[in-house]
């Protein structure tokens, strides 16, 4: 009598969770934009045995955006999931993996991401600011002002904008623009950049040459700009005299 086929793998089985972890690590490793994603749930999984200790797995994943920029050295397990009220981005991925002798390797992946429904965010938090377009004039002005402000107050290498991660504009009770953007260190000091910014080239693509900034521009009732930059792997001197410039230090990781 032939043996009964093994029961289908459940989406919460340890093997499914291990496959999901391998898949999301691969997806984050392949991405160079935005923020790291984490698994919210395994929606479906299918296993096609290929032989002893060899199987192909098809995994359907629901992903959530974290607050860790994709270039951040922070391990995914330490990244905070961005709340729904912050108008986050969600993702869906179909991943094909091969498991040989217990080791997963991703053969193919296809992902779609989109921001959460604006109407649903409004239901949860009527006053929360929603995501703004990256090419919004106010967003671009705030990023430019924030980067200039930072560069004017540091003796570190001159930083250049890599990409805007997200932006929100609030109109009530005050007019506030909040932006987050990735930066790269250049081979110039701020003084050298003043003389000829075109000559400043990004340093080699090493994680320690990247950083991430958050800026809050209050436009009404009174104008104010706060900038907070974290440079991965750089020891940044503090400037206690500059109340509007917050600098946090990050740990080197290998």
């Amino acid at each position: 009598v032939p043996a009964a086929p093994p029961p289908p793998l459940g989406c919460d089985d340890p093997e499914a969770e291990a496959a999901a972890e391998a898949a999301v690590n691969y997806i984050n490793g392949q991405s160079h934009h935005g923020y790291k994603f984490t698994v919210n749930r395994v929606k479906d999984i299918r296993v096609v045995p290929q032989g002893p200790n060899n199987a192909i797995m098809f995994v359907d994943l629901e992903l959530l955006e974290t607050k860790c920029p994709i270039l951040s050295p922070t391990p995914l397990e330490n990244c905070t999931v961005r709340s729904f009220a912050e108008h986050a981005v969600e993702g869906d991925c179909d991943v094909k993996l091969q498991k040989v002798d217990g080791v997963f390797s991703v053969l193919a992946s296809k992902c779609h991401s989109h921001e959460d429904s604006r109407e649903d965010v409004r239901k949860v938090c009527p006053d929360c600011p929603l995501l703004a377009k990256m090419n919004n004039t106010e967003v671009l002005e705030t990023v430019s002002a924030a980067l200039n402000d930072y560069n004017s107050k540091t003796t570190d290498p001159y930083l250049r904008l890599l990409e805007i991660g997200r932006a929100q504009i609030q109109y009530h009770p005050g007019h506030v623009v909040v932006v987050e953007f990735a930066v790269g260190a250049t081979n110039c000091s701020a003084e050298e950049a003043k003389a000829n910014v075109q000559a400043c080239q990004l340093l080699p693509e090493d994680q320690s040459n990247f950083g991430f900034c958050k800026a809050v521009m209050v436009k009404r009732p009174s104008q104010d700009l706060q900038v907070d930059c974290q440079l991965y792997g750089h020891q940044v001197p503090c400037f206690p005299g500059y109340s509007s410039l917050g600098i946090t230090l990050s740990q080197d990781t290998s």
């Binding site: 919460d12 749930r41 929606k43 959530l64 959460d116």
Partner: protein, 39 residues
């Protein structure tokens, strides 16, 4: 003549008890549990 007879509603206590040693049905294999929040 036929009259409608009142029937008491079944309560939690009226349900047939599960036999001792009978395992509860396994959860559906997929989708898996939500780890953070429902979207």
């Amino acid at each position: 003549s036929v009259t409608k007879r009142a029937v008491a509603k079944a309560t939690q206590h009226d349900k047939v008890p599960r036999p001792v040693g009978f395992a509860p049905p396994p959860p559906p294999p997929c989708p898996g549990k939500i780890r953070h929040f429902d979207i």
